[in-house]
C-alpha cells in the first residue's frame, strides 16, 4: 500500500540492499522479548533503599502541619522528609518552556514544588517522602505520617475558575488567569461582515491520561569515592535532566550521569521536568550515601503524572456561497492544572493546528489559560492539536450541512495546493518560529483515503443497505496537519569498530519508537552494512551528552538527520582512507556488505580492517589527522516540518445500548520520506488506538472538589484488542525541504484527528435531526443522553 516516489540519500551501490525505506525487523526486539531489556525498575544495587510518597488527599487546602515522628519510629524506616527538611534545596521547578515572542502576551508562571509547603494545590501533590529498607516498609511509614490540612474550596471548572470570587490557587496573582494570548491574521471582522454564512458553536475537549504501561520511576546512586551521581530515570529527556540536576545539586555536569534505559512508553508526560521525585531521589541518595529507588504505582500515576486536554471553545467560521473559508474566530479556555511549567505549548499547538490543511485568510484566535486544582497539564500525544482539529473539522461539517455541500468537497475546496508551499500562516508556532508549512499534497491524500474507503459509493451502497436493514452505519472523513520535528537540535556519533560493527550513539531517549532500528538503517545506508550490524545507544549522558529529548514527533527528523549526517562524515573518512590503502580514486570505490571495493577490480578491504588502520599503535600520522573512523554531527532544522493525513471510518452505532462497532478504519498519511514503513505503520496504529480511547472510553472524571473519581484501570478504561479495529494504512510521500532526509514526524499523528472523525461518523450513522457532537470524549452514557435529548426535541411527545 505504500508509495515511494523519492530516491534515497547518498551515493548508491546497486549491488547492495537498500536500508532506508525497508521494513527491517527491529534490532531491539530480542532483548525485549527475552526479558533482558533493562527498565528503570529492573535496576538493583547493593544497599538500595526504597522511597514512598505521602500525597495530598485534598485538591486545595492550607497545609498546617506534617508530623513524621510515627513514621520515623516504624521498623525499617531510615529517613523521612517534609518540605521544611529540604532547607535551601526547596525551590519551585524551572519554567521548562518560556512563552514565545507574541505581542501583548500575558503569562503568569507558577511552577511545581518538590514537596508542598503552606498549601496543597491538587490531589496527589507530594507532601512528604519516606525512605525505608523495602518499598513495603516505606509504604507502612507513609501511612503513619500525620498531615494536617484545612481544606479550601477547589477550582474544578474552567470558566468559574476565572470568576472574581473564585478560590485563588496562587496567592501572588490577582486571579487564576495563567496566561492570555491573542494571535491574529488578516481581519476577521471584515471577513465575517461579508460572509454568506457564519456558523457559531461551542466545543469541549476533556482530560485523559497518557497511561503508558510503565509508570514513572527514578533510581539514584551517589558514589562519593568516584564522585559520580548515577540516575536511572523514566524520562524522555535524559540530557536536560542531567544538566538540571547538576545545577540543583551543585555538581559539575561531568559528575552526573543520567540514563534513560528502555522506557515502557512515554506519550509526553515523561518529557515533563522536573517532577518532584526527580528532584528528591538524587538528593536523598547524596544525603544518605546509599542508592535509592522510587517507582510510581498505577494509582499515583493518575494524580502525580501530568495529564492533558481540558479546553472549552467558542468558535465561528465565515464561509462564502460555495463553501470557501473566509475566516475563523476561536476563543477558548485551556486548563493548565495547578501549575504551568510547560508554558504555552499546548494552547499554541491548538491555535496553530486548527488551521489544518486549509487556506484561512482571516483568523482571530484568543485563549485564556486557567489554573485549576487538578493535576498539572503538559503535552500528551497530540499536545493540543486534537482540540484544534476537532474545532475546525466540526465547523467545516456544519458549514457543509448548511450549504448542502458534500463533506469531502468542502475540504477539497479549501485545501492549500502543492504550489502554495511554503505557506506562511502569519502566526507563531510552539517552536517560537512563524507557522510556515513546508510541503504537502493534501488533495492526493484525500483522494487515496476516499478511494480506499469507497466514500463515493458508501451512501448509495453499504450505507443504504444498512439503513434498509434498520442498522445505523455511518461514514466519516477528516483531514489534519501536524507540526513535527521542531528544533533546537540533536546530535549523534558514529564509530566503526575494528570488528567491523558500527556503533551509533545519540542523546535522545527512546520509548518504543524503534530508534534502535530506524537510526541504524540511516547509518547502514551510508556505510554499506546491514541494519543489524549497527549497535545503537540512546539516552545515556555518559555516552552522548548533547541534545534535548524526545517530544513533538521529532526523533526521526532531528536525531535521524544527525545520525545521517554523522554517517555521511564517517563514509567520507572511509573513502579517503580506503582510497590510499587500495590505491584507487574515491569515485571508483563502493561500500557494500561491510567492505570497500574498487569497482571493476577484485581489490577490497573490510571496514573493520580500515578502522584498525585508522588507529595505529606506532608510526606517524598526517599532522591534524583524527584517529579512528568516527564522526559526530548535529542537526537543527530552521523550523518544524508539517506532516498531514486523512482518517476515514465506517462506524455502526446501536442506539439502544450506545455500543459502537468500528467496521473500517483507513489512514492515509504523509510524513515525508519513510525510513521504515513497518515502524511508521506501528506508530499510526498505536496513535489511532490512543485516539479511540480518548474519543469513547477514556475520560478523567473529577467531582466539584477536583477529586479524581476513576483513578484505576478498573474505572478508567483503556481500549483493548476487542475495541480497536484493524487499521488500513497508505503513505503519500512529500519530502520535507527542511532536512536532508526529507522526513517529517509521525509519533503523534495517529491520535490527532480521531475525535473529530468519531464525531462526524456518529452523526452520519445516527442521522437524527438536531443530534450534534460538540464534545470529546464521548462515552456510551453520554452518547445515550445525547441521542435521547435529540429524539425528545425531534418528537416532543
Amino acid at each position: 500500500m505504500s508509495q515511494h516516489t523519492t530516491a534515497p540519500p547518498g551515493t548508491e551501490s546497486p549491488a547492495r540492499p537498500r536500508q532506508v525505506g525497508a521494513s527491517s525487523r527491529r534490532n531491539e526486539d530480542r532483548r525485549l522479548l527475552t526479558g533482558e531489556a533493562l527498565f528503570v525498575d529492573d535496576v538493583h544495587l547493593d544497599g538500595m533503599l526504597h522511597a514512598a510518597f505521602v500525597r495530598s488527599d485534598y485538591a486545595h487546602g492550607i497545609l498546617k502541619g506534617v508530623d513524621l515522628s510515627a513514621a520515623l519510629e516504624h521498623p525499617g524506616v531510615i529517613a523521612a522528609y517534609a518540605a521544611q527538611d529540604l532547607g535551601d534545596y526547596w525551590e519551585p521547578g524551572p519554567l521548562l518552556v518560556p512563552p514565545p515572542p507574541i505581542e501583548r502576551l500575558e503569562f503568569h508562571a507558577a511552577t511545581q514544588v518538590p514537596l508542598a509547603r503552606d498549601k496543597v494545590r491538587h490531589v496527589g501533590e507530594p507532601i512528604a517522602v519516606i525512605v525505608a529498607r523495602s518499598r513495603y516498609e516505606a509504604e507502612d511509614g507513609a501511612a503513619l505520617v500525620e498531615v494536617d490540612i484545612d481544606p479550601l474550596p477547589a477550582v474544578s471548572e474552567l470558566a468559574p475558575g476565572l470568576e472574581p470570587d473564585a478560590p485563588r490557587i496562587h496567592d501572588q496573582f490577582e486571579s487564576n488567569l495563567a496566561a492570555h494570548v491573542i494571535q491574529e491574521k488578516g481581519a476577521w471582522d471584515e471577513a465575517r461582515a461579508r460572509a454568506h454564512r457564519v456558523i457559531t458553536r461551542e466545543f469541549v475537549y476533556d482530560r485523559g491520561a497518557s497511561a503508558p504501561m510503565e509508570n514513572r520511576g527514578v533510581v539514584a546512586n551517589w558514589d562519593a569515592r568516584s564522585r559520580e551521581l548515577t540516575v536511572w530515570d523514566t524520562t524522555q529527556a535524559p540530557i536536560p535532566i542531567r544538566n538540571g540536576l547538576a545545577a540543583m545539586l551543585g555538581l559539575p555536569q561531568s559528575e552526573v550521569r543520567v540514563i534513560a534505559p528502555f522506557i515502557g512508553g512515554g506519550f509526553g508526560p515523561k518529557i515533563m521536568m522536573f517532577y518532584p521525585e526527580e528532584v528528591l531521589i538524587p538528593w536523598i541518595s547524596m544525603r544518605l550515601g546509599r542508592p535509592v529507588k522510587w517507582i510510581e504505582d498505577r494509582q499515583e500515576s493518575f494524580f502525580a503524572t501530568t495529564q492533558e486536554r481540558g479546553q472549552a471553545h467558542e468558535a465561528e467560521i465565515a464561509v462564502d456561497e460555495e463553501g470557501r473559508i473566509l475566516g475563523v474566530r476561536d476563543v477558548f479556555l485551556t486548563d493548565t492544572g495547578a501549575y504551568n511549567p510547560y508554558g504555552l505549548t499546548i494552547p499554541i499547538n491548538t491555535q496553530c493546528t486548527l488551521l489544518g490543511p486549509y487556506r484561512v485568510p482571516n483568523y482571530y484566535t484568543e485563549f485564556r489559560m486557567v489554573f485549576t486544582n487538578k493535576p498539572i497539564c503538559t503535552p500528551v500525544r497530540g499536545a493540543g492539536r486534537q482540540h484544534g482539529v476537532f474545532v475546525m473539522e466540526r465547523l467545516l461539517d456544519r458549514a457543509a450541512d448548511e450549504l448542502g455541500i458534500d463533506r469531502v468537497e468542502i475540504r477539497r475546496l479549501n485545501y492549500l495546493k502543492p504550489d502554495e508551499f511554503p505557506h506562511d500562516h502569519e502566526i507563531i508556532f510552539q517552536d517560537f518560529s512563524p507557522l510556515v508549512y513546508d510541503s504537502g499534497n493534501y488533495a492526493e491524500v484525500m483522494d487515496r483515503a476516499a478511494e480506499m474507503i469507497d466514500y463515493a459509493g458508501f451512501a448509495s451502497g453499504e450505507g443504504a443497505a444498512a439503513r434498509a436493514q434498520g442498522r445505523h452505519v455511518g461514514i466519516g472523513v477528516v483531514s489534519y496537519v501536524e507540526g513535527t520535528g521542531i528544533g533546537p537540535y540533536e546530535g549523534a556519533r558514529v564509530t566503526i569498530e575494528p570488528s567491523g560493527r558500527v556503533n551509533l550513539v545519540t542523546g535522545v531517549g527512546t520509548q518504543g519508537q524503534g530508534h534502535f532500528t530506524s537510526f541504524a538503517q540511516l547509518v547502514a545506508e551510508q556505510l554499506g552494512v546491514g541494519t543489524e550490524d549497527v549497535e545503537v545507544v540512546t539516552g545515556d549522558t555518559a555516552r552522548f551528552a548533547w541534545g534535548t529529548g524526545t517530544f513533538a514527533s521529532r526523533g526521526a527528523v532531528v536525531a535521524g538527520n544527525a545520525c545521517h549526517a554523522a554517517a555521511v562524515l564517517v563514509r567520507e573518512k572511509v573513502l579517503a582512507l580506503a582510497s590510499t590503502v587500495l590505491e584507487a580514486a574515491v569515485e571508483d570505490l563502493e561500500l557494500a556488505h561491510g567492505q570497500v571495493r574498487v569497482a571493476g577490480s577484485g581489490a577490497s578491504i573490510s571496514l573493520g580492517d580500515l578502522a584498525a588502520r585508522a588507529n595505529p599503535l606506532r608510526g606517524a600520522v598526517t599532522p591534524g589527522a583524527e584517529p579512528g573512523l568516527e564522526a559526530t554531527a548535529y542537526f537543527g532544522p530552521e523550523r518544524g516540518a508539517t506532516a498531514n493525513g486523512v482518517h476515514a471510518m465506517i462506524l455502526e452505532v446501536h442506539p439502544e445500548t450506545a455500543e459502537i462497532d468500528i467496521l473500517r478504519y483507513v489512514v492515509v498519511h504523509d510524513c515525508g520520506r519513510v525510513i521504515n514503513p513497518m515502524i511508521v505503520e506501528g506508530q499510526i496504529h498505536g496513535g489511532v488506538a490512543h485516539g479511540i480511547g480518548n474519543s469513547y472510553y477514556e475520560q478523567l472524571v473529577f467531582d466539584e472538589g477536583a477529586q479524581l473519581l476513576n483513578a484505576s484501570f478498573m474505572d478508567y478504561l483503556l481500549p483493548t484488542a476487542t475495541d480497536v479495529p484493524t487499521i488500513e494504512t497508505a503513505h503519500v510521500e512529500t519530502p520535507s525541504p527542511l532536512n536532508p532526509l526529507g522526513v517529517k514526524g509521525v509519533g503523534e499523528a495517529g491520535a490527532i484527528p480521531v475525535g473529530a472523525l468519531f464525531a462526524q461518523a456518529l452523526e452520519d450513522a445516527l442521522d437524527i435531526d438536531g443530534f450534534e457532537v460538540r464534545e470529546m470524549p464521548m462515552s456510551p452514557n453520554r452518547l445515550f443522553e445525547l441521542i435521547r435529548d435529540a429524539r425528545e426535541k425531534d418528537d416532543p411527545c
Binding site: D29, L32, Y136, E214, I727
Partner: protein
C-alpha cells in the same frame, strides 16, 4: 518485616528456597527477590496483564498472588521461554533460540516499547497450546485481558496468527 515464612518453588527449572513476608506479592518476589526482571508490573490490580507468568502451566497474574501461595509451584517466566543455545540454563538474547511466539512477535512488529510484551507472551503459551488454530475473534478476545498502549493490538494479532501457523502440528 515481622513474621516470615519459608517457601520453596521452581522457577524456569531452578529451585529457590527463601524466607518471605506473607504479604510479599509473587510479582515482587520474582522481580526483586530472585531478580527475574523480565516480568513487568503495570498496575498491581490485575487489569493490565503485564505481570502474567505460568504457575503450574497456567497463566496467572503474579500481582494478584502472594509469594507464599506459590510454595511448591512450578513457575515459568518470560526468561524461561527462549532455549539457551549453549544449554547453560541462562538464556542470552544474542544467541538463544527464540520461542516461536517470540519469533513471531519480532517478525510481525508485535511490540513497541515492549513493557507489556512478556505478560502477553505468557498468556499466549497456554492459549496456543489449547487453541492451535484460533480465529481472529478468539485471538482478540484472549488479548483483551492485556493492555498495550503502543501497538493498537493489530500487529499483536498478526503475531499470534503467525505463531499459530508456525506452531501448528
Amino acid at each position: 518485616m515481622g513474621e516470615t515464612l519459608t517457601i520453596r518453588l521452581t522457577v524456569n527449572g531452578t529451585t529457590y528456597e527463601r524466607s518471605v513476608a506473607p504479604r510479599l506479592l509473587l510479582s515482587d518476589f520474582i522481580r526483586h527477590e530472585i531478580h527475574l526482571t523480565g516480568t513487568h508490573v503495570g498496575c498491581e490490580h490485575g487489569v493490565c496483564g503485564a505481570c502474567t507468568i505460568l504457575v503450574n502451566g497456567e497463566s496467572v497474574r503474579s500481582c494478584l498472588m502472594f509469594a507464599v501461595q506459590a510454595d511448591g509451584a512450578e513457575v515459568t517466566t518470560v526468561e524461561g521461554l527462549a532455549t539457551p543455545a549453549d544449554g547453560s540454563g541462562i538464556p542470552h538474547p544474542e544467541d538463544a533460540d527464540l520461542h516461536p511466539i517470540q519469533e513471531a512477535f519480532r517478525e510481525a512488529h508485535g511490540l513497541q516499547c515492549g513493557f507489556c510484551t512478556p505478560g502477553i507472551l505468557m498468556t499466549l503459551v497456554p492459549f496456543l497450546r489449547e487453541n492451535p488454530r484460533p480465529d481472529e475473534e478468539r485471538i482478540r478476545e484472549v488479548l483483551s485481558g492485556h493492555l498495550c498502549r503502543c501497538t493498537g493490538y493489530q500487529n499483536i494479532v498478526k503475531a499470534v496468527q503467525l505463531a499459530a501457523e508456525q506452531m501448528a502440528p
